[in-house]
């Protein structure tokens, strides 16, 4: 996990230094630092970050309000956030979890516990991203199957109608016309499917999926 980048948000330069150095040494992480909630938001605008460790109480912005702003752009799977709190901040912990924190650790930070929690959330995020990618692939495959099935049949018919001598046959011209209009209709429906947020699937052959249009 050495390529993973963790953003440590804490107004205490010493506490940041401690986490940056210990996580780099024990976990091999690259750590970025932010001294405030606003600084954290600035960094997120220009840097790629895999996970955030954020102190609950900081000047300027309370950690939980920064957390809520981050959640406007990143969901808990895209960017896990672990709050760092003191044991006395039970209310803050509840508030932070409700505002979208994935987890929390307490100060003084036990490095082994912190690394374990970080690894868990990075793994969950990676698995979730992989699942999303698999779903996208499934949708893409289904779409290709659908195109192939729905367009191929009328297209074959249309091409057959264009055979030598057949285009003068009125019945063949009618079939050709129907087939081409069928193709046009399918293309329109497929375009409508791509505008939908949810894709409904049917089964084509065996395990092969088909997009319902």
């Amino acid at each position: 996990m050495s390529e993973k980048r963790i953003l440590i948000v804490d107004d205490s330069s010493f506490d940041r230094e401690l986490l940056v150095k210990a996580l780099a040494r024990k976990g091999g992480f690259t750590a970025l630092e932010a001294e405030s909630g606003d600084h954290c938001l600035e960094i997120l605008e220009r840097e790629s970050v895999d996970l955030i460790l954020m102190d609950v109480l900081m000047p300027g912005t309370i950690g939980t309000s920064t957390l809520a702003k981050i959640r406007e752009n990143y969901n808990p799977i895209e960017l896990p956030i672990i709050m760092v709190t003191s044991k006395s901040q039970v209310t803050d912990i509840v508030e932070a979890m409700q505002a979208g924190a994935n987890d929390y650790i307490t100060k003084p930070v036990n490095f082994d516990v912190a690394l374990s929690r970080i690894a868990t959330h990075l793994t969950l995020a990676a698995l979730s991203k992989e699942m999303s990618r698999m779903k996208e692939l499934t949708a893409l495959n289904a779409m290709i199957t659908t195109y192939n099935h729905e367009i191929n049949t009328p297209l074959t018919t249309a091409l057959a109608c264009l055979g030598p001598g057949l285009v003068r046959d009125e019945a063949a011209v009618a079939r050709l016309s129907r087939s081409l209009w069928r193709i046009a209709d399918i293309v329109k429906k497929i375009r409508e499917v791509t505008d939908k947020k949810e894709i409904e699937y049917g089964t084509y052959v065996g395990e092969t999926k088909l997009v319902k249009i």
Binding site: F14, D15, L18, A22, K26, S86
Partner: protein
């Protein structure tokens, strides 16, 4: 807190060395580096608390004492942590007790002196004692 008659409060260790070093197992050099860094930051921590109190900026006092509480807790310096936490809670009460805050700041500074002294010994001996 009650103490055994045979043990003077100032002889009680200022921090839990065993728990602190367990966290830094195999990273004694980093423990030394961070202890030195903490000592470098210590005057600023105290100055922030005193400035906030002198200006009666209790929100800043809450933040400064909270920050120090978090930092000393890394060393498991329970007594200093408890004093910082008391200042933090006193600074958010509806009726501010200035005398209690002033007294606790004085007690905190005593604890920080002890912690500073103990950490300097550890840094010099590289945690060998």
């Amino acid at each position: 807190m009650k103490f055994s008659p045979n043990i003077r409060p100032d002889k009680i260790p200022s921090f839990d060395r065993g728990t602190f070093m367990a966290n830094f197992h195999g990273m004694e050099d980093l423990a030394t580096e961070l202890a030195q860094s903490f000592l470098n930051n210590l005057p600023t921590y105290v100055a922030d608390i005193e400035a906030a109190f002198d200006s009666r900026s209790f929100r800043l006092l809450e933040i400064a004492s909270h920050r120090l509480k978090g930092s000393v807790s890394n060393f498991h310096a329970e007594s200093a942590r408890e004093k910082a936490y008391r200042i933090e809670t006193l600074s958010i009460e509806s009726q501010i007790d200035l005398a209690a805050i002033e007294l606790t700041i004085a007690e905190l500074k005593v604890e920080l002196k002890r912690l500073e002294s103990d950490l300097r010994v550890e840094i010099e001996t590289k945690w060998a004692l």
